[in-house]
C-alpha cells in the first residue's frame, strides 16, 4: 500500500547538504578548468624550458581544493551515505589497482604507456562513480 506519505522527494536536509557540497565543489572545479586552460595556452609544455615542469603541476592546486570539498562533504553526510561512499571508493581503488597492474605488464611487454597514469585515473574514477551509483540505487 502506498500513499502520499511515500513520496520520494528529497528532505530539506538533503537539499541543504547538496547545496553546501556544490558551494564547495563548483568553484574548485571552475578553478581547475581555468588553470588547465592557462597551462595549456601559456605553459609551453612541449618546449625545453625547465619551468614547464612547474606549469605542468599547477592544476594540482585546484585539485587539492576538490579533495578538500569532498572531505567536507564526507563529514556532512549521514551514516548510510558515508558507508556507500567508502564502498564506492573501495571499488574505484580496486579498479585503479587492476588498471595499474595491467598497464605495468603491458609496459613490460613493450607497449608505450606514457598515458598509463591517465588510464589509471579514469578507470579508478569510473569504478568509484559506477560502484557508488549502483549502491545508491539499491537503497532508493
Amino acid at each position: 500500500m502506498t500513499s502520499n506519505l511515500d513520496t520520494t522527494r528529497a528532505s530539506n536536509g538533503d537539499r541543504t547538504r547538496a547545496k553546501r557540497f556544490m558551494t564547495d565543489f563548483l568553484p574548485a572545479m571552475a578553478a581547475y578548468v581555468v588553470i588547465l586552460v592557462v597551462v595549456v595556452l601559456f605553459g609551453g609544455l612541449d618546449g625545453n624550458s625547465p619551468a614547464r615542469f612547474v606549469w605542468a603541476v599547477l592544476p594540482i592546486i585546484p585539485l587539492a581544493w576538490v579533495i578538500w570539498a569532498m572531505a567536507r562533504h564526507l563529514r556532512r553526510i549521514d551514516e548510510l551515505q558515508s558507508r556507500q561512499t567508502y564502498q564506492g571508493l573501495s571499488i574505484g581503488f580496486g579498479a585503479a589497482m587492476l588498471a595499474a597492474v595491467t598497464a605495468g605488464f603491458l609496459g613490460i611487454a613493450g607497449l608505450d604507456m606514457r598515458l598509463g597514469g591517465w588510464v589509471i585515473f579514469v578507470v579508478g574514477m569510473l569504478g568509484w562513480a559506477v560502484g557508488q551509483a549502483v549502491l545508491a540505487g539499491r537503497n532508493g
Binding site: 511515500d6 530539506n12 538533503d14 537503497n139
Partner: protein, 73 residues
C-alpha cells in the same frame, strides 16, 4: 532486520523526508531502513526510540533480514 518504522511514520502523518529531517539523516537512509536493506547504528536506533517514544526492541525485530518493500512501488 525487520522493523515497524513505516507504520510508525505513517501513523504520525510524516513523509520519509520529514522523518529524515527529524533525525538529521538523508531520506535515502529512511527508505533503506524501512525496506530492511540497512540496519541503523546504535545512536540512530536510540534517536528513533526517543522520537517515537518506544523501546528499540518494539521498533526493530531481530529476525533475519527480509526486505519488506511496500506493495505497488
Amino acid at each position: 532486520m525487520r522493523n515497524h518504522l513505516r507504520a510508525l511514520r505513517v501513523a504520525r502523518g510524516w513523509t520519509q523526508a520529514v522523518l529524515a529531517d527529524e533525525l538529521d539523516v538523508s531520506r535515502q537512509t529512511i527508505n533503506a531502513l524501512e525496506t530492511g536493506r540497512y540496519d541503523p547504528s546504535l545512536p540512530l536506533a536510540f534517536a528513533l526510540s526517543r522520537l517515537f517514544e518506544q523501546p528499540i526492541e518494539s521498533i526493530f525485530d531481530p529476525e533475519p533480514a527480509r526486505p519488506n518493500v511496500p506493495q505497488g512501488r
